[in-house]
Symmetry: C2
Subunit: 348 residues, 2 copies
């Protein structure tokens, strides 16, 4: 059924695809998003486009009041896959008809009251939420269709309960305070001794995530999730990437703090990063090729060239950071967690 | 004392000028503005810059949720003067230090709580109001100074009470309804018979105002004011022009409805319009020269060249509209109200 949903989301015939979709506003979170239900297929989380791809986040905005970007959700899925993590559920871009595919078929009465025609005749709506849900921030078709991201929803919590973990390197979410990790350079020493980071792969999982986030400049990773059933011996789920790719002209070194402070990384991750720094497998080229398969590419490339070259620049920083770690430590194994040897051992 | 205030506002020494100014937030209205009090001199209304001069209003925004623009307030004062009306109180641009000239000296405790330093170290604040007063819409210095308009405040209502008049050509302020004038082409016939528009100059005053508004594309003229003391034999005050100059690429013919529907205009206004359409007195050139005297010109011209040439284009439309009126009416005097003959008669 996941395959059916994927086929449906990637399909070309809009009208057919959405005949049986029932959009309602998703509660929780600060910005407008819709849950699209496809009976017998599952659900998708729809985030509408709010700003042009070439616009960089306003320098005066804090990470916690930045817009969410539909193309960031899509690009994060591709980047995570290219890095070999595969921890972001599938996300695909779609053009959606504001009237036929949302207003006319929604069962969400509050949502319906927020639709209007703009002065130039575009179909608009704004929903109800705490940020950016007002007539000044309406989401408008041109004239009817809007771009958006469709993320495959994970199984319902009743079927596959998940646990949400507060990231140890979570930011302060305050304009005036700094989190402990931001001022304490020995912070990782205590985290390494704290369950669940004191055993298994949880710490290197977290560092993988911080590498992903640094590459796409996502400062908004306050939590991550796991499936409860697998306990602590499990992978992380990288949900909610809408605030990535806000700026291409600047890097944010603090996102890499887990790697810098712990000096620890999976061998498979390092090998993949090195591969993607080779001329023939450049990260920007692989991303461009991967993103070109998304349906929204017909409107415009999902990431501008500036964002793609920022990826190459940031990749160099990550590799250099690992080099520095290796020089600071006596034993290669202090830095590199050899997951490939582990895997061989398990298979033999 | 008006001269002193003007001198103070036009002065060059920032620190000296503002040593004795006490800024507080102005209540009423939907967007942030501050009242600056200069003891012994009077008060000025400060509207901070919110968007870049080259940005056009979003096509999906209705006139009643558009941003207010500090440069529109300044340019409206100059345009009104160039048209010979002199019905906009003096407005001048200023660079203001967010910390020293607002935060440190305000007595407005609610305002103080909204100041913060942005991630890149710019001084910001957002105030409290119904539109755009939130951290996502903060007003930020670069790093400390912000641009803004300073409008000389009229004498206090206790000294010179004013009356606020609802414009007969007020828009509906609704996304779905149209005002009566927008659908009834005989609307002016009834207005002409309704006091105070049935005698004196009130109707041509209103038409002057609509010409000003059409030229600067101001759709937000819901009211105008007069001084109570002068009764109905008085001039109009053109206050609150912050939503003018939102778009240069498009004209809004409906703003000219009073002229089109009433086919009546002051002779002195027509002569001034014709003068400003001559090659040697082109409106755009006169405006450019006039605006260049404003202190903010050192940052950037107050109006972009596109806005200046829109003025010339719209002026042609106004003159053509009057030509059409003259052709439709038998007698010249049906259209032209000869205020110059009136003036001669009064003087002889």
């Amino acid at each position: 059924s996941t395959a059916s949903l994927a086929a449906q989301m990637w399909g070309v015939n809009d009208d057919l695809n959405f005949l049986w979709c029932f959009p309602v506003q998703k509660s929780g979170g600060t910005q407008l998003k819709l849950v699209m239900s496809f009976p017998n297929y599952g659900q998708a989380l729809f985030k509408p486009m709010k700003q042009e791809r070439h616009e960089e986040t306003n320098v005066n905005l804090y990470y916690f009041s930045d817009f969410e970007r539909h193309n960031a959700e899509i690009a994060a899925f591709h980047l995570d896959r290219i890095l070999g993590f595969r921890r972001v559920p599938p996300v695909v871009g779609r053009l959606v008809n504001v009237i036929k595919e949302i207003k006319d078929i929604t069962t969400d009465h509050k949502l319906v009251t927020t639709f209007f025609m703009s002065p130039v005749g575009n179909a608009c709506f704004y929903g109800q939420c705490s940020y950016y849900c007002s007539t000044e921030h309406a989401i408008c078709g041109r004239p009817l269709k809007i771009e958006g991201s469709m993320a495959a929803m994970l199984p319902d919590q009743s079927l596959a309960p998940r646990r949400s973990w507060r990231s140890p390197w979570r930011r302060s979410y305050s304009r005036s305070k700094l989190a402990q990790w931001a001022t304490d350079s020995n912070y990782c020493d205590s985290i390494k001794k704290t369950p669940p980071y004191d055993r298994g792969t949880r710490l290197v999982d977290l560092i993988d995530m911080s590498i992903l986030d640094f590459l796409m400049s996502n400062m908004d990773r306050h939590h991550y999730e796991t499936f409860e059933k697998f306990g602590n011996d499990t992978f992380l789920i990288h949900l909610d990437n809408g605030r990535a790719f806000g700026r291409h002209s600047k890097d944010e070194p603090s996102i890499l703090a887990p790697l810098v402070q712990c000096c620890r990384v999976r061998r498979s991750t390092l090998l993949r990063l090195r591969l993607l720094s080779l001329q023939s497998y450049r990260m920007s080229d692989v991303m461009r090729a991967s993103l070109s398969q998304d349906p929204l590419t017909v409107v415009a490339p999902l990431l501008t060239e500036q964002h793609l070259s920022a990826l190459d620049r940031r990749l160099e920083t990550v590799i250099q950071t690992i080099q520095d770690c290796l020089q600071q430590h006596q034993h290669h194994s202090d830095v590199i967690y050899d997951d490939i040897a582990d895997l061989r051992q398990n298979l033999s």
